[in-house]
């Protein structure tokens, strides 16, 4: 779900690492010693509606400049899946002031690194640069918010690049194909069921006009959030923001549609066989509340549950399936509440070599049944909360991490108060709340189980 697509892809390892770090930091804010706050940001809003957030970190004289648009794969029109992501690629194709393909070259020439990524809920563009080059990149980012110029000669080779991206990142990786089809099964009647990169047959039909229409509809200062972290504060940033983004007038932007997954009570199973799979695996996914969708109080309880079930080697699932029973080489539970629509909670396991997938799935199910029946203990909750709050200090030990976490949160409908009160919210979670949330989410009917199996394996029923 937080399936973000980086324009350059996995080979720019630093980006992937930075992103992974953010996912971790989203769940792990501040110090218990500092009772309040996580990132201690400053914030202001320009007259045209652009929200601006600053996190000061003066370790080295560099800044991370990120512009987040509140639009993504969620908002693609029918039959136009992938258009949000395709437009993200095309945003590098130039304006009357910056030639085709020159954006990244100018950033590089100034000692900076840039990239962009698209998710369901947002599309973000960023540059990491020396602080004295910040105004340059702000000017260029503001310029392409309104002045993008596309021609067929620029657009259609880039569509081929996106097709290669899909082949490389999904089509040739059986595990990723299963994930794509799992989401399509979980998110019925909902855009999260359609991959951000788009379905192959629809990517092939995307046009320059489609991209231009999407751009004109959604790219506006009042539909964006600017986050800058590093060697700068709000007083220093404000005049630069006024001068660059401030000159762009606000524009009417449509309300985003609200899709909901209907109540589906049937258990569903999907099986992907692939000749290249050597080790099978099983995953079960259920819908869950997010920070801003459904019973959002439960989101904090589910984060504590995640730490209890899956926090390091001592997490319940690892201890039981991997250490005690020796039935799996890995077992875990994952949950990302930073989504604008419904979130999901997943449990997964990979059998030991030669192990039966059916037995592993049964052991996983048994562990969940025990959780639902007996609940978690007060001691488990206290330990989990203590670890989560202590580890939160690391979130500030990073240049770009805070900008990612804040951008993602604000783009999915949270407020700065929400982000900064995370420690209080976690500290307030009770054992009763964890057990109630676990039962509401994992005890409900209608999940989807996926198995990834070798070509010749027989389907193994877990129940």
């Amino acid at each position: 779900m937080s399936d973000s697509l980086l324009r350059l892809g996995i080979k720019r390892g630093c980006l992937v690492a930075a992103f992974a770090l953010t996912l971790a930091t989203t769940a792990l804010p501040p110090s218990p010693a500092v009772a309040k706050g996580v990132y201690f940001p400053e914030s202001f809003t320009l007259a045209n509606g652009l929200q601006v957030v600053v996190v000061t970190n003066r370790r080295v004289p560099v800044v991370s400049h990120m512009l987040w648009y509140k639009v993504g794969g969620y908002d693609c029109p029918p039959t136009k899946s992938g258009i949000a992501h395709f437009l993200e690629h095309l945003m590098f194709k130039g304006t009357p002031s910056v030639g085709p393909g020159d954006f990244s070259k100018i950033v590089a020439r100034n000692g900076g690194r840039d990239n962009a990524f698209t998710s369901f809920d947002y599309t973000a563009y960023f540059q990491n640069v020396a602080r004295d080059r910040l105004e340059l990149v702000m000017g260029m980012e503001a310029d392409r918010m309104v002045n993008l110029r596309l021609t067929d000669a620029l657009v259609y080779p880039e569509r081929d690049v996106v097709m290669e991206e899909r082949r490389q990142r999904t089509d040739d990786l059986p595990g990723d194909r299963l994930s794509e089809q799992l989401e399509a099964t979980v998110f019925v009647n909902h855009p999260y069921g359609t991959p951000v990169i788009g379905w192959e047959h629809e990517i092939k039909g995307l046009t320059r006009e489609d991209a231009e229409a999407f751009y004109r509809t959604w790219y506006a200062p009042n539909n964006a959030i600017l986050v800058v972290s590093g060697d700068i504060d709000a007083a220093e940033l404000r005049p630069l923001a006024e001068k660059t983004y401030g000159a762009i007038p606000a524009r009417a932007v449509p309300e985003r549609l609200r899709f909901e997954v209907p109540a589906l009570t049937a258990e569903r199973r999907i099986i992907l066989h692939d000749s290249e799979i050597r080790e099978p695996s099983v995953v079960r996914e259920v819908l869950a509340p997010s920070y801003t969708h459904g019973d959002s109080d439960q989101a904090y309880a589910l984060e504590v549950l995640t730490e209890i079930m899956s926090g390091g080697p001592t997490g319940r699932l690892n201890r039981s399936l991997v250490v005690d029973q020796r039935i799996a080489v890995s077992a875990g539970l994952s949950y990302n509440p930073t989504t604008r629509g419904a979130a999901t909670l997943e449990v997964q396991a990979t059998p030991v070599p030669g192990g039966e997938i059916g037995k592993t799935e049964l052991a996983l199910t048994a562990e969940i049944d025990t959780l639902l029946k007996d609940g978690v203990t007060d001691e488990e909750v206290a330990t989990a909360k203590k670890r989560m709050l202590a580890a939160a200090v690391y979130a500030r030990d990073s240049l770009q991490g805070p900008a990612y976490a804040i951008g993602m949160a604000l783009a999915t409908g949270r407020t700065i108060d929400d982000i900064e009160s995370w420690p209080d919210r976690i500290a307030a979670v009770t054992t009763t709340a964890v057990n109630a949330a676990a039962r509401a989410v994992l005890g409900a009917q209608g999940g989807v189980t996926g198995q990834l199996l070798p070509a010749d394996a027989t389907t193994a029923k877990g129940e």
Binding site: V98, R133, N147, P157, R326
Partner: protein, 447 residues
Amino acid sequence: MVNARTVRRLVSALALVAASAALPLRTAEALEIQRVVSPGGIEAWLVEDHKVPVIAVEFSFAGGASADPADKSGLANLTSDLLDEGAGDLDSQAYAKRLQDDASSVLFQVGPDTLYGGLRTLSEHQDSAWELMALALARPRFDADAVERVRAAVISEIRQSDSDPSKVARKAFYAQIFAGHPYSRDELGSVDSVSRLTADDLRGYVAANFCRDRLLVSVTGDIAPSALAPALDRLFGALPTSCPPLVVAETEPQHSGETLVMRRPMTQSILLLGEPGVKRADPDWFPAYVMNYVLGGGGFSSRLTEEVREKRGLTYGVYSYLYPYDRAALIIVNGSTKNAKAGEALALIKSEWARMAAGGITEKELADAKTYLTGSFPLQFSSSSATARLVLQVRRDNLGIDYLNRRNGLIEAVTLADVARVAKRLLDPAKFTTLVLGQPEGVATTP
């Protein structure tokens, strides 16, 4: 509209100097590295920084996967995976619980020439962290149940990597280009070799490799030299002074123009090409570094990306890398394209290779490479651990404690003639060792 005028002005000025000085450049006071020597004689390089209450320790022991005995490949890796699975009086779960309760983490990782260790802790829990890391190095338990559990995980990882085309391609490529040398082997080892390793093998690895004459240490974060000195003895003081010398041969990568096509049911073909590169200690390192940036290292500023991706839409990514080992050096190209275009993409890569070998780079390319490579250097100091790793690499490469301050000057000194010379010396598209994985059209295995 907007500030299009400002933008144009900056762009046309190549923006070496920002037009407005609203945010003046701070004198980039380079990071200060302090040499700290413990009472027991352990040396660490420290970047002291008290802004966040975090301490990162990074260290390495020379002798990684390439030093595994021929019949015990995967030994260094299995050992590294088991170091934090119980030590001293603490079994695996007790050890993990202590770390997790402190929000500390330890990490061991094996490379071709090195075993790396990392420790990250909050300053308030440093005492406990020193104790746990010291135990892992001096008194790892290698309990039978932990060995079997981690062995199963490694075997599963080896088998799972067979499902990842990029890993399959890399493994086959190194097997081919380093045939006959330990660098040809995968660091994880094979299912067969890992199945045969014993707890005695693991103890033997520790005894033969964890010595002070193999050790390098760097530290970043919330700790003063006076506190670090005794901590170094607690961490590493129990290690023996010296280990037997490493015996790994120097080697020259294959470069006879061989192409190997591995058929696999895929929509794309993965391309890997390589030939001898430059070692880190080579006097031509920086000219080669600048050349590689222009050729294929510089993302959207590179010639390969321009020709293969931007102009023709043939790939999502094509990159070249310098890959210096301790006992060999490679320059590599990696990319992927749909099967029907594999031959065309390979031909484009080789033609860029030949163009660089014949003509080097232009004055503008040299200037752009220098402003990127010097200007982006501070971006690498993105966290305590990242900074400590960078400083450790400076030590590994024997570059001197003042290197961080000298480094940009070394890049500025590179000339067009330097790049042309190194391009001519290194690049020969007729000598590439090439591996193609997929169902490529227009490429065949050389007879």
